[in-house]
Amino acid sequence: MAEPKATKQINFHVTRYNPEKDPKPYIQTYKVDVADGMTVLDGLHWIKENLDATLVWRYSCRMGICGSCGMLINGSPTLACNTQILHVSQKDITVGPLPNFEIIRDLVPDLLSMFDKHAEVMPHIIRDEAELNSPKGEFYQSPEQLEEYLQFTYCIKCGCCMGACPTLATDVRYLGPMPLTALQRYNADSRDEGFKIRTEVAGGDSGAFSCHYAGECSRVCPKGVDPGKAIQLLKRKLVLDYLHLAGKKQPCKKLEGPGQGKVLSGMTPPPRTIEKVKIITK
């Protein structure tokens, strides 16, 4: 494929930091020839290939799926692979590591603290162990029940929301938007029965009530997830539960045995497409 024609020279002001050598992070500026359509990630590759091979960052899929290349671009946490340079600047662009994390090197944040908090909220279906170990059938989940938590499953754990959170900037113990969204995702799942188990961490001093609803997490999320909403829903559920006003969660219906598809006993299955075709043909 032909090399795209350079259209503009953009100054990349990149945060550099090597904890073994540098006392503190500093900014290094590179002049990058930018063609239309180039992403910030492309720009960083260009720098590494042409100007400075020591620059370090983290990336993987290059298409906004893996969540590895979360960075602070022009002051806003976002994915470098999902941000076109000329869409955010015509002259200067600043690229730094995600805030609210330790820096491993240059643009690589240490996301361990986020994943530790993520594990703390028990982000998995919690049910009776005996049932999980010897399942008797499939769970039935209606489209409405799926809708309760669907958008929260789109989270790719890039950490952009954590980098944008002003509460996390002052309180490192605060769980943060990503783990709390994961917590709400499982609490809202009709198959899950772990609300009481998660209550201690969700309503604790570092839990949902530390959120001041600045809403930055929802604004910066590259996948369109709304962590602010997840946290508000979680707060509502906790308060209603405390006041004994929460309605009892409907237990998830179970199909009678394996291989029953999505049809409950007593329900008429929808006609198969092939049968519809036959009717039309007749």
Partner: protein
């Protein structure tokens, strides 16, 4: 049930009560010239006669004490939240909570005593 949920629920409830009581305060004290509510001695709501008349009423004494209680709880909980966000060590965070509870109780005791004293003085002065 975690303490966070408990404290926050009461914080919200206190906020609602504050909103109602402060709304009444605004209407009675700052719109007296227009609405003439609970001010039988002329349109000046803050005159000594009108103040003493209100102090003599038990409902005003109780609402003053309630306003003080919810105001202190709401405000001190907010202050505690701000302080705990400074990533204090657990022992220091606990000390902050204890100090704020003691300060709150002290101020509530003092304020309640003052409100009740105003009530009894107003009653003794024949402003009923």
């Amino acid at each position: 049930m975690s303490n966070g949920t408990k404290y926050w629920t009461w914080h919200m409830a206190a906020g609602v009560v504050l909103l109602i009581l402060l709304g009444l305060h605004m209407v009675i004290m700052h719109m007296g010239g227009t609405v003439h509510l609970f001010s039988p001695h002329g349109t000046e709501s803050v005159s000594i006669e009108n103040s003493q008349w209100r102090d003599s009423k038990i409902c005003f004494a109780i609402s003053n004490i309630l306003l003080l209680g919810v105001g202190l709880y709401h405000g001190l909980y907010g202050l505690r939240t701000i302080l705990l966000e400074l990533s204090l060590k657990p022992a220091l965070a606990k000390a902050v909570t204890v100090v704020l509870v003691l300060v709150g109780l002290g101020l509530f005791g003092l304020g309640s005593w003052a409100a009740w004293a105003a009530h009894t003085v107003a009653l003794a002065g024949g402003n009923s």
